[in-house]
Symmetry: C2
Subunit: 210 residues, 2 copies
Amino acid sequence: MSPLKIHYPNGQPYHYNENDFTKSKKKKSHDYSNRGMSLEKELNLTNKQYLLENIAVIHKKPTPIQVVKVDYPKREAAKITEAYYRRSSTTDYNGVYKGYYLDFEAKETKNKTSFPLNNFHEHQINHMKQSTEHGGICFTILRFTTLDEIYLLRPDFLFEWWNQQFKKNGRKSIPLKAIKKENYLIEYGFNPRIPYLKIVDQLIEEIKEK
Amino acid sequence: MSPLKIHYPNGQPYHYNENDFTKSKKKKSHDYSNRGMSLEKELNLTNKQYLLENIAVIHKKPTPIQVVKVDYPKREAAKITEAYYRRSSTTDYNGVYKGYYLDFEAKETKNKTSFPLNNFHEHQINHMKQSTEHGGICFTILRFTTLDEIYLLRPDFLFEWWNQQFKKNGRKSIPLKAIKKENYLIEYGFNPRIPYLKIVDQLIEEIKEK
């Protein structure tokens, strides 16, 4: 029935499907920019690469889930049948690099001119403040998805902006202009995709100079 | 019908139950030893106290769970209706103390004379080896529940015992005698319950002397 019969070397027939070609055309872009992958996924790939090259040990923490009911079927894995998402009391990523404790949060926004501060929770900010006090290097990786730009925010910058929102006439979002001026643009790479440790190296240099 | 009618100030009747008294008798011990609380719970309380006193920022990572189905009822929290436990690729606890990255695993055994090595998974050992290489301080907190004794295992000690099991005539468990000889007994405290950072201070001194 099919106009063309092609077989793979393993003898399996190849099924022609027009969609395959349409899809592959769409994927042809060869720049390294974000191709619809979530920031979380890209950071996980990045951290995997850092681990593989023995550069750093950084992991995303699992999402906290409160388990209410579990079934224990015979000879099968325990099945959770009722559970709820809980709010994390820390940031999402942490680990060790060059002897330093790293701790960061990853955030995305579709906004084009500013980053709304309500993307952060107070406990995340407090966690970063506390970790910084004990010698940890804390920061935020921020993606403006529409602009396809990723920034690494300095901790002092974030804390300052976080605090000003509670003052009279405080702004509820950080203008992109201010972010650009005092922080770091992360250029996409091939592998790792988001080479944020290059920027962390600069933060480490600053700490050493103090 | 009841021989004695007592009411609480709020008007609710008090139901006499002999078990209540039996239970409270059992709880009378005033030493600081483990009163049936899980090691995890005691470590969480310990870490909470360390955080409260601004001594260190250490958290237990959430248990990794793979979510398969979620219901989104109107006006209510998202309800997970099918999910499974996954194996963690790291240890359970990490954080920052005196500028150092800490990373540890907590284990319990009912054994009285040795600790079975199959309580560890290879990926946990690898994770600790990698983190140590990058300057992290990794260790294990081990409770012999029957003996009610808690030890902090040095990383080099654990790695050595882990590796020997794969050799000819290798032992599958670490004798308590060996644990006692080369590691640290943690004495229970009131608050924090398991003051393991006192031992970590000794590990830090060793690192500094190198």
